[in-house]
């Protein structure tokens, strides 16, 4: 009896030791990684700052930057007084006519990009689904294409397309659209991989071609999923197209860049508020639409 207990105690101690060793090893690796990455990202950098009395002093970058961050954010808050509130707000949003136009452009870029992305992603999702692809080559090619389209950020596509198609919303539509195609193509093809194959067999048995099988066997099953993913993507695209103007691809982002470089601080806060409100409104609207079309609880 006692030998069994002793054996248990011994095994237990050994297990505890191994667990502690694993923990120590993982902790050590983490600490080393943190130190390495902190060093690589200038976390410990020391900088020179000019003090109030004009002398130079050495400071930790983060320590020196935090007050500046506060100052910067404080400058973006406009001068609002209760007595002259309407006038102050009118001054704050003084460029509203330009912004309203650019805001419309932003939403339209997102809309068109989503449409292009849906068309391309939908077409490719059947070729990129393991259970539906007509042959291995098509599967491999379409999967790699979708991967590249979504791994390269839309801002990088925008840089490339601004060179090709010139400054303006057209480049933005193409860039966001291409990225959307990659992202939606993946989601759609995953939805395709989860379908019931029996309807397709039925269509095939009655002499349907590959396209007939997709059209009458697969599409009706995945349509609700596709709608849900598409609406979610539209919201994401509104965000992307609001910053894509930073590299010249149209939308509100170009105003952001102007306000940043000309140090028009209050314009910045006004732009943030505009983007924030737009994103929230579109969030809510598409959620309502999704619930209406798909029914509650079916959101992906």
């Amino acid at each position: 009896m006692t030998t069994a207990i002793l054996a248990f105690e011994r095994d237990y101690a050994a297990q505890r030791r191994r667990a502690r060793l694993t923990f120590a090893a993982v902790a050590l690796v983490l600490v080393v990684l943190v130190l390495l990455t902190a060093e690589a990202s200038n976390f410990f950098k020391i900088t020179q700052v000019t003090q109030a009395d004009g002398t130079r002093a050495e400071r930790w970058v983060i320590g020196a930057g935090l007050p500046r961050l506060g100052e910067y954010l404080a400058k973006t808050i406009p001068d609002l007084h209760w007595s002259t509130l309407p006038d102050d707000i009118a001054l704050w949003f003084g460029r509203w006519q330009i912004w309203a136009k650019l805001l419309l452009e932003t939403v339209l870029i997102a809309f068109m990009a989503t449409v292009f992305g849906v068309i391309g992603g939908f077409a490719l999702s059947f070729a990129a689904a393991r259970n539906l692809a007509p042959n291995g080559w098509v599967l491999w090619l379409s999967r790699r294409y979708l991967e590249i389209a979504r791994t390269v950020p839309d801002l990088v596509w925008a840089l490339i397309f601004v060179f090709c198609f010139g400054v303006g919303p057209m480049a933005g539509v193409m860039a966001v659209g291409l990225h959307t195609m990659g992202a939606l193509g993946k989601l759609y093809s995953e939805a395709n991989e989860n379908i019931d194959m029996r309807p397709l067999d039925g269509v095939k048995a009655s002499g349907g071609s590959w396209f007939d099988q997709m059209r009458y066997g697969a599409v009706p099953q995945v349509l609700p999923n596709i709608l849900s993913y598409t609406l979610l993507r539209f919201e994401i695209n509104v965000r992307s197209s609001s910053i894509i103007g930073y590299v010249g691809a149209g939308g509100l982002g170009q105003e952001l860049r102007t306000a940043m470089s000309f140090q028009e601080y209050t314009n910045l806060s006004a732009l943030f508020i505009i983007i924030l409100v737009t994103v929230i409104v579109i969030d809510r609207a598409s959620e309502a639409l999704r619930h209406r079309v798909i029914g509650l609880g079916a959101t992906a």
Partner: protein
């Protein structure tokens, strides 16, 4: 027994008797037509407003073709100085994603307790904290990076802080949801054996959520590696700066090579974190 085929006359009779079965109601058809017409009009107007002319597309595609022709063979840097620049950029992007996610996770972890319904019983406080997460999430990482560049200067530090702040919003929300999905039975067990509230969190809630939290954090690390590659375009460090620089100088061969390297890096990180997930957490379905 044989089945009589339906004659054409019978079909015609059925059609006349039950017209609604054979056709879509007029109101529905009209609504569909109106929706499609509206959609087409909007598209047409967009195409017009954005100057999508065939000529412009043709010219752009020509230029795109020329740019694409620099993809193969990919540019290979011959001098060590250039190679080390690129490697440094990639390393910076990885460091920014890693440190940013870690800092965000460290701050988001305690905050998520305030946002979880089963741990924070004060609805007002919980509501305020939750809306706080929402507001942080409404800001793009890129916009945060632009703000931090003004305070901390150009370079990866601004990128790290931008990713960290953005991650506080998203991780705290995901963590809080994971905590809300825990079972109450272990908590009851700890309380029944005389444990305090803190002990019930430590010994009943934490063991349930830790794998989920780790999995969520790894996913966000992956997505930060992807999104971190663009922070350099606005000057917040990493490989994006080199990429924007090469594209700005029309050195397309090098630009494409950098894009290939970014794709390879993202692949590698995905595979690696998949391994870590499988090793420490097991295959976990249903995160996100």
């Amino acid at each position: 027994m044989t089945i009589e085929p339906i004659s054409a006359a019978e079909i015609a009779r059925a059609r006349a008797e039950h017209p609604l079965v054979f056709s879509v109601p007029l109101a529905v058809r009209l609504r569909r037509a109106a929706l499609w017409a509206g959609f087409m009009l909007l598209m047409a107007w967009c195409l017009y407003d954005f100057n999508f002319s065939p000529l412009r597309i043709w010219e752009g595609l020509g230029r795109l073709g020329r740019v694409l022709s620099f993809m193969f063979p990919p540019h290979i840097w011959s001098e060590w100085r250039e190679v080390s620049d690129i490697l440094k950029g990639l390393g910076e992007t990885l460091s920014m994603a890693f440190l940013g996610t870690l800092l965000g996770a460290v701050i988001a972890f305690p905050l998520s307790f305030l946002g979880a319904k089963n741990l924070n019983r004060r609805p007002f406080l919980r509501f305020g904290v939750r809306r706080g997460f929402d507001i942080i999430r409404a800001f793009e990482t890129l916009i945060l990076a632009l703000i931090f560049i003004r305070a901390f200067g150009l370079g990866p530090l601004a990128g790290v802080l931008a990713i960290a702040v953005a991650e506080i919003g998203s991780l705290a929300k995901l963590y809080a949801e994971a905590i809300e999905n825990t079972s109450t039975k272990p908590v009851d067990g700890v309380i029944a054996s005389g444990g305090s509230r803190t002990q019930s969190i430590r010994f009943a809630v934490m063991p349930q959520v830790l794998p989920v939290l780790l999995s969520i954090t790894l996913y966000n690390f992956e997505s930060n590696v992807r999104s971190g590659t663009i922070l350099g375009i606005v000057g917040a460090g990493g490989i994006g700066f080199l990429l924007a620089d090469r594209i700005g100088a029309y050195r397309w061969g090098e630009a494409w090579s950098i894009i290939f390297l970014i794709i390879a890096m993202v692949y590698l990180i995905d595979a690696l974190s998949g391994l870590i997930r499988a090793r420490f957490i097991g295959t976990w379905e249903g995160v996100r």
